[in-house]
Symmetry: C2
Subunit: 507 residues, 2 copies
């Protein structure tokens, strides 16, 4: 490499490091706002976050960035770059292209619109008044359609939005796997609904003191291999995990004293996200590669731990007695089998964020079908309440009483996030594929859980997924692990076996 | 004002707001590092802080800043600016002049030196080995002497360093008040040493559970008018208060279960700093004026609350019973009078940060005399241990056994902070002047404390001090309140009266 080029590479990496440093500071401010920042400072703090976010945005589309990218993507130059630098250039190029193509005024109009829309949505939801939200949603959809035109698309307009959250996954792929899923889950749900031997659940709702829930959650996080020297657990309203850098990845949870499951499964879920961020190779610090590779792969990690570990009977063979010691007697007369069935109770419900693992993907499909239709102009916003209700009936066999528990329930669209929802279901499908592949290396998976030895599981995930950050694309990760692409078969198998067993259905 | 000028003013204020936003983010990161950030993320977090601090530094000396300052300090322009903008320009000008005059390479050499020096100091202190630290201290002194040459000085070189921390206060002024103080306190200390009726203190050291200390500290903070919607109390190793913006001013404390005074008086002290920052006019947010006007005035607020309120008998008439209910019986057989005497126990001691209010200023004077001599070349670094010990003997009548508890005890010099120490004593002198002036408006000061009604006191301080932030210089503040300049008389009066009474000395 010439000295000039080495200089350019160095300056580029310094420039990028500055952006990631700003992002780390922003991340800490968000965490702080959500875990205990004093109310009266919040408005000013939001301004600071806004200022710093624009700073990062401006840096992503600056002339300086353009010069770096032009220089470092010349063919003869590219071949001389390290993998780390080359992939960093790719990420920055993608970001640059995306951001530069939208006229500044339009983007700022859009930011203002979505901020207003979120406020209106909140009120519309409270009043269950879709008409109030409709004009905003129409504009948000129109903006996104325009963005797709700016960004360009190949087969399907919606592909361009999917790519924001799950690079490489298209409508064609999703249609195939979602259809496959639906064909099996819809009848499974009906079997469960009609099952005569349903789990008893009354004992789940006894008073479980917050401090005891916390102590148990901390035990479980430790058992998962979450490193408390590189993280902490705090309380919040809408739980999340945030990776500021691999040495500082924080988990938050909330506590419901009449339903311990909120905290316990919530903490395991966020702990799964956190393990991903804690175990990214430290060599990626200071680059945009030091982060989970996609929303879907991230969700695969949280769902893997929450469901394939946390709702597994072997896991509770080890942990049920401990849970009992933390509780105030609510499980004294409950057998492990009854407990296991209870925490896996499933069935159609209206609210996505409260849905169980069997029906969850169906909730996502409803949203996916609608988003695809909206962006391609096949569905109009004004028809949404009706379409929503029809799809709910079709997929889950129930119809919302009103739009607050129907089409208005989720915040995503009010912020302009179209293309995000599918990640949740993709994560789930990935998780089942990953679990299946893991069994080849760890055929004693269930015994490990029974022994409370989860480290080999964590290490397998680090080895095959976590360490790479964004060095690998989601589809690459899955292919390298499973030898195939996205495949819903394993999730279907898992759900059918599990729920026929839990609901004692004769197959 | 012309449209052009209005534009310049607007751009200048936006520019400055960006700098204060960065500083707010940096402040939060510091708070986080010291209150519970995971260890493994600390190194990377320090890098982020370093990057953002250079960013702010670069902005303070940029060509853009120079253009703003040149434009906005033209005489005809200045007269058209609001007070807020004009004072902001003044602050930025001062900072610009200071920062631009030091050659970049020298400054960066100095930053590296002081960072190394701090590490070496730590070890030197541990080993009580002054020679180990000496070469670093010599270089740090030489750098500061050079900085003084760059910055210029009028009467005394040390004035230029004092001005960094206490604008407007000079060697001439300090010599006068410190001499006055010394003349009275040195004999007072001897009276106390020779007093036959000393306070009993054994009951202070009983086990006082941390949680109970915290609950009591929270009560006191609330009583002082500290706003918990604009702040919070956390635990740390070296307590501090930090004002991120007036809506977010955080207090930290530490707990010693065998000496409740650490937390209680520490929290009151930091609470005093915090009240200052919480009550700065919100109109100053986004400018460098939104902060305490000097180290000395800041310290006057913390010391006012800690000593003039917290060590006042009337305060304990109200609070002693409450303290008893939080404690586990240690005060059951203790009278209010004995308790009051115990928390005011005083006498010569070696360590500044453990010194009582009677001897504290003497500790500062030792440091002041040394710094003044060093910067003016009248004292050489190699002679410090001897000079230190002689001065301690002269002022306090005791000599350290070794340098760890002598000249090596404080961190300040290792970071290159010369001119900072005097602020502590100035704050104390100010506090006594403020208390005296306050009595004119609140002659019922002691009754207010007895009633537990501290709000009029807080409001008086807000009205006369807090609201102004840096709109007023320290000397202006004191003059507007007291009608005179710095005057040690009131502190002398307070100490003599109080300690002759506490130690039952016949005067």
């Amino acid at each position: 490499m010439t000295t000039d080029l080495m200089q350019t590479e160095k300056h580029f990496l310094d420039y990028v490091k500055k952006m990631t440093s700003f992002n780390e500071a922003i991340g800490l401010m968000y965490w702080d706002l959500r875990t205990g920042a004093p109310k009266k400072g919040a408005e000013q703090r939001s301004e600071v976050i806004g200022m710093m976010s624009s700073e990062v945005f401006d840096m992503s589309v600056s002339n300086e960035m353009k010069r770096f990218l032009d220089e470092l993507t010349k063919e003869d130059v590219q071949n001389n770059l390290s993998d780390r630098t080359r992939k960093t250039v790719e990420e920055c190029r993608k970001e640059y292209d995306r951001n530069i193509k939208i006229p500044a005024e339009e983007y700022s109009e859009y930011v203002i619109l979505s901020s207003k829309a979120e406020t209106v949505w909140e009120e519309a939801k409270e009043q269950s008044n879709f008409e109030m939200f409709r004009p905003y949603l129409e504009k948000l959809v129109a903006f996104n359609q325009k963005f797709v035109e700016y960004w360009g698309y190949e087969e399907n307009k919606y592909d361009t939005l999917l790519d924001l959250f799950e690079p490489g996954v298209t409508v064609k792929v999703i249609d195939r796997v979602f259809n496959q899923l639906r064909e099996h889950i819809v009848p499974l749900v009906q079997q469960v609904v009609n099952a005569s031997d349903k789990p008893k659940t009354d004992f789940l709702y006894s008073h479980f003191p917050q401090e005891k829930q916390k102590a148990f959650s901390l035990d479980i996080l430790k058992g998962m291999g979450y490193d408390f020297n590189a993280g902490r657990l705090d309380t919040t309203v809408h739980p999340f995990a945030t990776g500021l850098n691999p040495g500082d990845v924080r988990v938050t949870t909330k506590y419901d004293e009449s339903d311990f499951r909120t905290a316990v499964f919530g903490t395991i879920h966020e702990g799964g996200h956190a393990l991903y961020e804690q175990n990214i190779s430290p060599q990626l610090i200071g680059t945009p590669l030091c982060s989970g590779t996609s929303m879907g792969i991230h969700e695969s990690q949280s769902l893997f731990w929450e469901n394939f570990v946390g709702r597994n009977k072997s896991f509770w063979k080890k942990n049920f007695d401990t849970l009992k010691t933390y509780s105030t007697g609510q499980f004294d007369d409950v057998s492990l089998e009854d407990y296991y069935r209870a925490i896996n109770v499933a069935g159609p419900s209206l609210i996505r964020i409260e849905a169980d693992e069997m029906t969850y993907a169906l909730h996502i499909m409803v949203r996916y079908e609608i988003e695809k239709g909206l962006i391609n102009g096949d569905i109009e916003v004004k028809d949404l309440p009706q379409i929503w209700n029809e799809k709910m009936e079709e997929y889950l066999g129930i119809t919302p009483d009103n739009d607050a528990v129907g089409v208005l329930q989720d915040v995503h669209w009010s912020g302009g996030a179209f293309g995000y929802f599918p990640s949740y279901a993709l994560g789930y499908i990935y998780a089942a594929q990953i679990k299946n592949a893991m069994l080849e290396d760890l055929p004693n998976f269930d015994e490990l859980l029974e022994e409370g030895n989860m480290l080999p599981i964590k290490e397998w995930l680090t080895e095959n997924i976590h360490q790479y950050g964004k060095l690998k694309q989601p589809i690459e990760i899955i292919k390298d692990i499973t030898g195939e692409g996205l495949n819903a078969k394993y999730l279907i198998q898992y759900l059918e076996e599990k729920y026929q067993q839990v609901y004692r259905i004769q197959s």
